[in-house]
């Protein structure tokens, strides 16, 4: 095949981070005037591949050919100027400035008055308006501040920007996650127009129905490798999902040691977030001794839900009961008083205290427990409890006074887990407990979870790793874009089913 058949060819791309391969020999070939969808679960390598294209990551292996020429963009600016642009899932616009200013950021039209150069306001406005009109986006005021616009409008601004760059390839990362049905159709109309003009679109999305509606070709990624590349006409919903997940379970998980009891420890009744696009109408129960898994894809609002249960976010309506009594939780201290614990998703951002020792990190949630009324610490008891907690989780460290930053990610995660176990919680919420952790440490954490469940704790586990979710949970609640789509029993939870519900708009 002559190379001019494809406007973009990524061949045999490999990229590893700290020895772990994020991409392994991935090839992606995109024809001009087509929509090429890229699908895969969290961590399959989609964003990594696009970042390699854009020059944000350097390639370990492989090459990229764009418009017939070998390219290696050093940064986003080069990629954009060459003719590739991207519409992000989380748009990085400058919120306090206007649509106009964001639109022209980096390339303001200049007018010269002799030696003095000023921004050409009139041209800025006229050209921007022209692009918006051209795309039939008539309800957008270029002077409006980005911060005032809804997420869907911000995405439209991004699309307009991409158009104005006269890109040959536009990458759209979850473009419809914030759009209403009408806006999705409008977007599809714009996409079809792009196709007619010969522009190629790389469409990354979890919404399989949309993919089948708008794409010409689909490439499916799994664990950093391409599973297959097919014309969309040959695919169905089931086929795509089965290719996304099909994986053999090795012996990575310890056996569960108990069955959940009948006693309901936590009951969540129709809770809805105060944020419009966040979790809505969520109801579920968790029993003593149960591991309750929560599955879903990015944007499912699972973290937001558990953070709200822990008092870090606000609930607009609905109620939470603990051991049969209504619980009002407005901050983490309230949550702790109900014997709840939360190990957050991002340990660097909201978990560890990087400047402190392992000891201080471990004791941080149990200070009240080991101090008197005046606040004087009972160091002996506190340190003994912390040391015991850390040792129970088999954290490898020469001393409790070692800086936590010197530990591996897996051990840091264990320290945070120890921090909460020292508080003797009844309800333990774990948000992606094994993210970024090596295989050995993962197994240890699973073993600890099984033991905790056996000892009567109720565990809520958010996980994006389907094998882990299915192997460890007694039941799996699947969420999609803020709503609960199903709660599956252990027996019926398969990767295909979970993925189906994770991509099903409720």
């Amino acid at each position: 095949m002559s190379s001019s058949e494809y406007v973009l060819e990524m061949s045999n791309i490999s990229k590893a981070f700290s020895g772990v391969k994020a991409l392994d020999g991935v090839s992606l070939k995109v024809r001009p005037g087509t929509v090429h969808a890229l699908v895969g679960e969290n961590g399959a390598g989609k964003s990594t591949l696009m970042k390699c294209l854009f020059g944000l990551y350097s390639l370990d292996e492989g090459e990229i050919t764009f418009d017939g020429q070998r390219v290696a963009f050093a940064n986003t600016k080069e990629a954009i100027e060459a003719g590739i642009s991207m519409i992000q899932q989380e748009p990085s616009a400058v919120p306090q400035r206007s649509v106009l200013e964001n639109f022209w950021l980096g390339r303001f039209p200049i007018k010269s008055y002799g030696p003095v150069k000023v921004v050409d306001e009139k041209k800025m406005y006229a050209d921007c308006k022209a692009v918006l009109d051209d795309l039939d986006i008539r309800d957008m005021d270029p002077y409006a501040k980005i911060a005032q616009l809804s997420a869907s409008k911000v995405q439209l601004v991004q699309i307009a920007e991409a158009v104005s760059y006269h890109s040959k390839v536009i990458i759209m990362d979850e473009p419809t996650s914030s759009l209403t049905e009408d806006e999705v159709q409008r977007l599809f109309g714009i996409i079809r127009r792009f196709k007619r003009e010969g522009v190629a679109i790389i469409y990354i999305s979890h919404r399989i129905d949309e993919i089948l509606a708008i794409s010409d070709e689909v490439t499916i990624l799994r664990d950093g490798k391409v599973v297959g590349s097919y014309p969309a006409s040959e695919l169905t919903n089931e086929k795509i999902i089965s290719q996304m997940v099909g994986r053999t379970l090795k012996n990575q998980f310890p056996p569960r040691l108990n069955a959940p009891s009948d006693k309901v420890v936590l009951m969540v009744d129709h809770v809805t977030s105060i944020v419009e696009r966040s979790f809505r109408d969520v109801s579920f129960e968790v029993h003593k001794g149960e591991i309750f898994g929560i599955g879903g894809l990015v944007g499912a609002q699972r973290s937001e839900l558990v953070e709200a249960l822990f008092g870090l976010r606000q609930i607009a309506s609905g109620s939470v009961s603990i051991n049969g009594k209504k619980a009002v939780i407005t901050n983490p201290r309230d949550a702790k008083s109900y014997r709840m614990a939360l190990v957050t998703e991002e340990r660097r951002a909201t978990g560890i205290f990087p400047l402190l020792s392992i000891l201080d990190n471990t004791m941080m949630a149990s200070l009240q427990r080991y101090s008197n009324k005046l606040g004087v610490l009972d160091r002996k008891r506190g340190e003994a409890a912390a040391t015991a907690g850390v040792e129970a989780l088999r954290v490898k460290t020469p001393s409790m006074l070692t800086h936590i930053q010197d530990l591996s990610g897996g051990n840091q995660q264990k320290v945070i887990l120890a921090r909460w176990l020292v508080t003797d919680p009844e309800i333990l919420i774990l948000d992606e407990p094994t993210r970024g952790i090596d295989v050995g440490a993962k197994f240890e954490i699973y073993t600890i979870m099984a033991d905790l469940a056996k000892s009567g704790k109720a565990i809520i586990m958010i996980s994006s790793e389907l094998p882990e979710l299915i192997a460890m949970s007694d039941r799996v609640m699947v969420m999609c874009e803020g709503k609960v789509t199903n709660i599956l029993d252990r027996a019926e939870a398969t990767e295909e089913r979970v993925m189906t519900y994770a991509t099903m708009l409720a």
Binding site: F310, L312, N331, P332, R333, A335, K336, L342, T344, A349, T350, G351, I352, F353, P354, L355, L356, D360, M363, M364, A365, L367, Q368, S371, L374, G375, V376, L377, R379, R419
Partner: protein
């Protein structure tokens, strides 16, 4: 050899202080004799109280520009309540005989109030500490000036203080060769208490947590707002005490007292090892930093260095000391 290098890096600042004292002492032996070192400790005592207060605030990632003016306010309040009954130009002519406890408590209460205000503004109104304390600094200066602006005398310096009061600043306790100036005893006592607070109480642990990762602190259940208010309030009390000792030592007060002391205190704390970005620092850091500052001040005068050169040298020392100290945290990763 590596062990020696490690020892040096870990205690770099203390060594700098030692080297300073030795070098100046060698060049001008009079620096080390005649009670000069004791004088340095006396002056350091007032500065230490301020530096201690500021240390806790710096650890949380904040700052306090109002420290100096708050000390000044405390000075005028204490002095106004500690004047001799027979003094000609008393601020409060009709004041009965008061125990010196009154001016001491009143000054500390004033400082406490200012600190509390700072804490509320930073923690509950979410105003950045720099701006919040910049504002209160000016307010407090105005308040102190209003306080001394009294008919019929107008804004005159307050003087004629009782001996029992000035004794706090110049007296000693103990006897013979074992007598220590009271002012140093008080400062040392404050150091011990503050060190205890930072190391052995939940407040201390919370402060380090807030400064290191406020979000993680919130998730762990720390009441960030409450702890911030407390640390700013404690600082205020320390400033109040500093005001008492300053007016006792100088025998008077004006509304201009302690102007700019906050910058010296912050610089001293940072030189001593408190991180300007928060999360790191100890009471001992404050002590060493203040001593370096005052040894420099005193030493450069003893050496006969011109006042302007003193400024240049001080600036160079500040930057060098911190650059050396920062190496503890900037290991290659």
């Amino acid at each position: 050899m590596a062990a020696v290098r490690q020892l040096i890096t870990k205690n770099a600042i203390a060594l700098v202080l030692l080297v300073l004292v030795l070098v100046i002492g060698v060049i001008r032996p009079s620096f080390l004799g005649g009670g000069n070192l004791l004088d340095i400790l006396r002056v350091s005592s007032v500065r230490l109280l301020i530096a201690l207060g500021v240390t806790g605030i710096l650890i949380t990632g904040g700052t306090d520009l109002s420290a100096g003016r708050t000390v000044g306010l405390a000075c005028v309040i204490a002095a106004s309540l500690a004047q001799r009954p027979d003094y000609a130009s008393k601020i409060f002519p009709n004041l009965p005989q008061l125990s010196i406890i009154i001016p001491i408590l009143a000054a500390m209460a004033a400082g406490c109030l200012v600190g509390f205000m700072n804490g509320l503004i930073v923690a509950f109104l979410n105003v950045p500490a720099f701006i919040a304390t910049l504002g209160t600094m000016i307010i407090v200066y105005g308040a102190a000036s209003l306080y001394v602006d009294h008919p019929p005398l107008g804004a005159a310096p307050i003087g004629g203080l009782k001996d029992s009061f000035t004794n706090l600043g110049s007296g000693t306790i103990g006897f013979g060769h074992f007598s220590i100036p009271i002012i140093i005893v008080i400062a040392f006592g404050a150091f011990l208490i503050y060190s205890f607070l930072l190391n052995r109480t939940t407040l201390g642990k919370n402060i380090y947590a807030i400064g290191g990762n406020a979000n993680a602190a919130t998730v762990s259940g720390v009441n960030v707002r409450k702890n911030l208010v407390i640390i700013y309030t404690i600082a205020g009390v320390l400033y109040g005490l500093a005001g008492v000792l300053l007016s006792a030592r100088t025998g008077g007060a004006t509304n201009e007292y302690a102007s700019g002391y906050e910058l010296d205190a912050i610089a001293a704390a940072v030189i001593g090892g408190v991180s300007i970005t928060g999360g790191v620092g100890t009471a001992t850091n404050a002590v060493i930093g203040v001593l370096i500052f005052e040894v420099l001040n005193n030493g450069l005068v003893v050496l006969g260095v011109s006042a302007y050169w003193q400024l240049v040298i001080k600036g160079v020392i500040i930057v060098s000391a911190v650059a050396l100290d920062i190496r503890k945290y900037t290991r290659k990763r």
